[in-house]
């Protein structure tokens, strides 16, 4: 016999308006007026038992992930928060609680504020520049041309080696003397004297940002390329028939449909940029300074390691970690919120 409300496969069974429960009461009847339900039929109990078993099995599969999350994320974060209120020095378990002293000390240090400044500068600059380069690059890489696969691989390559290794190579390339690679080229082509790439505050910051962009642009172009390839060609065909120019195709079709890719890319760039450590360390740690010249390329993560490990001030290092975590979370929430709104607007 046909059901009065045919059900699609997989859809949950919903009572139709006016239908009654097993006890005969209306769905809209006040809860207090419902009579006590009678004993469940045997089949219903078995189904309920199976459902509980299914849920338990699914939950048990999550146990390792939960364990890892607790052990590797929650416990360290909890320990950092705890230690940030102490004077723990890393050598003994005897320590005292110092209240907010570690947090107060952070806000009065030039070294820490400089680290915060460059971390934010690096994160914002690399995010903007990589996005500006990666999107057009992905569009080019999506076209057919001779040697396309080789070019794609070559552009992706800088993302493979560690940033530390890349940094050491680039420190040699940017060496601020006449025998430095870039300076040699500038001298041979334009007769310019040696540029103080790594020996002047702004130039050192610029050098680190240039390498950061170079190292990441190819990887993010590949990310955009993956999203580009999922855009149906019919959209472009239809637009062309309607007389749309390439410019219009890019800004009316490609760019809006890349919005989800941009969200992923920007979030990765921002969080990675704020956490940057090894690149400035490798490029500018030359003559005795871990983030030189002065504090110009010092980062928050370098501060955390220096206070926490090198100086044995685990309390201050932990306080910095906690504040930095909050900063990254806040930045992430703001960026995500803006990008999600943008996605919705372009949809």
């Amino acid at each position: 016999m046909a059901s009065p409300t045919p059900r699609t496969a997989g859809a949950p069974l919903q009572p139709s308006p006016g239908s009654t429960l097993a006890g005969g009461s209306s769905l809209t009847a006040p809860a207090g007026l419902l009579p006590a339900p009678g004993p469940e039929p045997r089949g219903a109990r078995t189904a309920h038992f199976r459902k509980v078993l299914d849920v338990a099995a699914a939950q048990s599969l999550l146990t390792p992930v939960v364990f890892i999350f607790v052990a590797l994320f929650l416990v360290p974060i909890g320990a950092s928060i705890f230690l940030s209120f102490t004077d723990f020095n890393g050598y003994t378990t005897h320590f005292s609680f110092v209240g907010l002293a570690n947090y107060r000390a952070l806000l009065s240090s030039d070294q820490i504020l400089s680290g915060l400044y460059f971390s934010i500068l690096y994160a914002v600059a690399t995010t903007v520049l990589v996005t500006l380069i990666a999107v057009p690059l992905a569009v080019v890489l999506n076209r057919r041309f001779f040697g396309r696969n080789f070019v794609r691989a070559a552009l992706f390559f800088p993302a493979v080696p560690s940033l530390l290794v890349l940094g050491l190579v680039w420190a040699y390339i940017f060496a601020p003397i006449s025998s430095g690679v870039v300076n040699s080229v500038l001298h041979d082509l334009f007769g310019l004297g040696p540029v103080l790439w790594l020996s002047e505050d702004r130039l050192a910051q610029l050098s680190v940002i240039i390498v950061g962009v170079w190292a990441q642009a190819g990887w993010h172009a590949t990310l955009y390329l993956a999203y580009l390839q999922s855009i149906p060609g019919d959209y472009y065909d239809a637009a062309m028939i309607d007389g749309a120019s390439n410019y219009q195709c890019f800004f009316r079709i490609t760019f809006p449909l890349l919005a989800p890719a941009m969200t992923v890319s920007v979030v990765l760039l921002m969080t990675g940029g704020l956490r940057v450590y090894e690149l400035p360390l490798a490029i500018t740690s030359g003559n005795g300074s871990p983030g030189g010249p002065g504090y110009s390329t010092y980062t928050v993560t370098q501060n955390i390691l220096q206070f926490g490990v090198s100086q044995g001030q685990y309390g201050q290092g932990s306080a910095m970690s906690v504040l930095f975590l909050l900063l990254v979370v806040a930045a992430l929430l703001v960026v995500l919120s803006l990008l999600r709104r943008r996605e919705a607007r372009l949809r």
Partner: protein, 435 residues
Amino acid sequence: MTPETTNSPSSLSRRAFLARAAGGAAAAMVAPSLLRMGSAAASTVQAAGSSVSGTLTFMSWDTPAVMQPVIAAFNKLYPSVNVEISFTPPVSEYISTLQERLLAGTAADIFIYTAENKAQLNQGNFVRNLSDQPWVKDMAAANLQFMSTPGGVWGLSPASWAGGVIYNTKILAKAGYKQLPGTWSGFLELCSKLKAMKITPYYDAGTPGVALEALIGTYYKTTYGKNIDPEIFARKISFVDAWEVPLTQYSELYSEGLVSQAVIGLTGTEMDSELATGKLAMLGSGPWDVASVQKDNPNISLFMGAVPGPAAGQQYWCGAPNEGWAVNAKAHDPAAALVFLSFLASGTGLKAYMTSSGDISTMSDYTSPVGSALTAAATAARQSLYYYHGVSWPSEYETPLTTVLIAELQSMFQGKATVKQVLQALDAKLKQLLA
């Protein structure tokens, strides 16, 4: 020219020198009677050799290439002692690894006691008092002072280093110099001449550089007659008062345009390369760079001289006692640990270690052979004619203050900070640390 300017057979490259010395060490093991082992410590070591047994754990920051010949020499005398050695590179990685192991109760029986961790090791009672050991009297005064606190002696420091100016003597000869400059103003004049010859005059390998450290040492000696760092940290005198004169002298290198601020972004390897290729005439560094530059260019003529002072005869060096080996207060096998240290302090142990490390022994039992380029530096190391803030400052304040010092000096090199501002920043940081 006063120093030897040619690469004589005695100033071989570091590798050749070590290989030859290692051969000598092997021969010496066959004929122990020829060794200089006259000290009580050495005699005790040999006498006790056969009766000691056990397993000793040792956390080294020297490389396996340095320590394996030493362990082999030890095991020839003490075949029943098994040495389990682990290697962790210096300095920060070693300090943090040791710290974690001490906290976990898994630290080795013997580990490094040095400027960066001595205060924490003493505060936590992690090291055994070694003042009753016979080799203590054989340590040089500066090394003994470095290893000591009022409560005891906590390590064996058998060597020192002294760094100065590494001169490319052929370039100096081209500039018309047959003798090294005897005063700081003479040194600046030499830099001017070299610059006029389109040769980079001088780089300091590291910040703060060898020249600044030596000028401070000279100033302390000539003005106060002693190291006044303890007074600075007791807030009896400020950095501004104690350092303004030597830092002003040092800053002339930059304010007069004799040294480029490019030095801020150069690595040690790049500086060595510039010196080896003749583009750089003088490098302020330690003995290790002499060996590496000679390896890059075996035909180069180098000599390491002291940093000239304000007046003739006031030259000084940058240097310090080497790190020491300490015994864990909770060592699993303290007897074996003490025997191992006695061996290291003996003629046999010193020869094995100094040969493979290339360090300059300051123990009374052994004199390290050095190449002709380093004769003056070796004498200075043995006589403790040096100053290095990293060892002189209390270890709990050394790292944060040095970070400020480096950053401020680099601002000064760029012309963005004055001498006074650099020193005021140091005073402010010290005040904050002591609060």
